[in-house]
Amino acid sequence: MKSIKNILFVLFVFSPFAITMAQSNLTYELRIGATRDVALLEDFPESFAGEKVNIKLANSSYSTFGTLETADVLTPLDFFFADVSSPALQAWGDSIYSYTDAEGVSWTVWRTKKEVKNRSQKVLRQNAYHVFETYVQGVTHGPSHSTAWLGWLCAGLLFLAGIVYSVVLIIQRRREKNLTPVEQETLRRKRMGMRRHYGSQLYLWLLLLVLYAPIALIAVFSFTKSKILGNWTGFSFDLYLNLFTGKADAGLNSAIWYTVIIALIAAIVSTLLGTLAAIGIYNMRARSRKVVSFLNSVPMINPDIITGISLFLLFVALGVSQGLATVCIAHVVFCTPYVVLSVLPRLSRMNPNTYEAALDLGATPAQALRMVMLPELWPGMLSGFILALTLSVDDFGVTFFTKGSGGLETLSTFIYSDARKGGLTPELRPLFTIILIVMLAVLIYINIRNSKQEEK
């Protein structure tokens, strides 16, 4: 009974949010369309060689789209292979090519004049080609496919829950009128405590709601095959199938592999290096230990961008071509300190004499390490290894500066270049939904195990 009341209360509090959600969805429905820029700078090497062009999302150009004439119909693929120097594209102006695909996404090629600075900072006027992916929402799909009904349904349910809750509350108050003043006072005290308790609970859950909203968005829209995040085109498992059958974007597949390979190499190397270093540091004299510990903390304090840039400068100075090897080295740099830190506490917990004893009994240092120290150290090494894996997979800043221009992409840099183009490869959604679910499962597992241990 009590827990039902709590649920009702939470639902009641959230109902205004749901209503806003429903309404915002409705207005979204009426807009002409969400437009995003999917122009690839790399697709037009002729016009952009070495130049930086600031591409803005054409939010302001909705009206423009309505009045412009379509000169030609080209598929996006046609455009990508089209000769940029063709006469049709020679004249200045806003020549538009558009094409609507089966999903209701219209691809529009739009050309603008753009002021570009060249190497010597001179201002040049240059063609800029934009490929816009325009999704005309209200027209193609209509409200039946929208998510608005979900919002309204939630709002309705919440509202009903609120009414039920109020009724329950009123009945309860009626009953309490018959109590003595003392009983009423204790009840009031209890209520105060409860209110504080539920207030703090509510705060945390609200915070978590905000924290998880974007992630929930990814998870929900992994079950629809629409190219655009936030556009529901019906339930489907297509994205998951694409991901597992390798039908996803080739760039994504290679990014996944590179991420895994780099993370494994970095984690293994840094675990070995870090464990040895931890043993060494532990046995050092106080002063040199202090120095090495400081050195060890430098990569942890340094933000990504500094680590990345400094390594980038090193590789430039050495004339090393950047690629897989440099990324691996860079990852080892920022992973090893964490391994050292997770192994050190294990060392201080073990008996320092066992290693010496093994040596006295005729073991070689390698044997003593393998048979005496490793069994004691491996939990620390394992947690260091896992930490290194997560750090490596999650890293963006360092990878970005050390990956070179050879086309090596990890998941992070792939998402970045994808997001810069405006779109997001749809198969990323199921990928990260799976990661989230696995992580949740691990969390629940650890929690159950811990509580069982506590019971014992």
């Binding site: 992630i215 933000p303 840039i309 090193l314 070689t364």
Partner: protein, 263 residues
């Protein structure tokens, strides 16, 4: 040969490979940042690039703006994060571990993807992408870094001190301000450092959250360092950032151990 074995049976030497590695890939690169900052493109010594920074209004303005954003973000994270950590650390809370993990779990989803999803969320709600979105996104990304160290110090806090204060007649409010807050300061310091430093150096998030309309110092550095001819100037900007980071970690070096359990 015997001597070699002797050297390596002394465990002190086992750290040598790591020290060498660090010297090569941590110390040398950091020195190189300084070297590049004070040389021109041909490798001759010059302070022109350095002087350029002080007269380059775009760089100065971006720098100050980034500092401001970082300070704001740190303040917001503290205001939101402290109550959350405090609530979680309270005894009456039944499942503090799960809660703490729930706050850290989003960090396993790639932060760029979360940022893109945030942008999409803003679009869906019809909110404009600008300074507000930037602060929201930054706060969203770095809030766990604030909550975790504070939560840790609060957990470790000796509860008998609070009880003593209550026995001596302090009400809840006095007890909070005079006992709990001072005791949790180490966690607050390391939280501030852990939020401020990545915020001031952030470069991809700002770009995505504002569709490149707002430029932060990190993005500026990225622009210059990836342009071959302006690499030395990029090094100057990196050096400036490095100094800021050094100062922050120097001032924040009260009890950084509380933050180590994160990730």
């Amino acid at each position: 040969m015997m001597k070699l074995i002797q050297i390596f049976s002394s465990r002190r030497t086992w750290a040598w490979p790591y020290i060498l590695f660090m010297a090569m890939f941590v110390v040398l690169p950091l020195i190189l940042v300084g070297v590049y900052a004070f040389t021109d493109i041909d490798g001759n010594f010059t302070i022109r690039n350095f002087m350029k920074f002080f007269t380059h209004s775009e760089a100065i303005q971006t720098f100050l703006y980034s500092l401001m954003i970082a300070v704001f973000n740190t303040a917001i994270c503290l205001l939101i994060g402290y109550p959350a950590a405090y609530i979680m650390a309270q005894e009456e809370f039944k499942t503090p571990k799960v809660m703490a993990m729930l706050f850290i779990l989003p960090m396993w989803i790639n932060f760029l993807l979360r940022t893109v999803a945030t942008v999409e969320l803003f679009n869906m709600c019809g909110l404009p992408l600008g300074e507000g979105a930037l602060l929201f996104g930054l706060c969203y990304d770095y809030l766990p870094f604030m909550i975790y160290p504070i939560y840790n110090t609060l957990l470790k806090m000796d509860n008998s001190l609070v009880e003593a204060a209550q026995d001596l007649g302090a009400n809840r409010w006095t007890c909070f301000w005079k006992v709990i807050v001072p005791l949790s300061m180490p966690g607050v310091y390391s939280g501030i450092v852990m939020v401020f430093m990545p915020t001031v150096s952030t470069f991809a998030i700002a770009e995505l959250l504002t569709h490149n309309n707002i430029k932060l110092f990190g993005s500026l550095i990225q622009d210059y360092i990836t342009t071959t001819d302006l690499l030395n100037y990029g090094a100057v900007l990196s050096l400036v950032l490095l100094i800021i980071i050094g100062l922050t970690s120097f001032f924040g070096d009260h009890d950084s151990k509380d933050g180590e359990g994160i990730v």
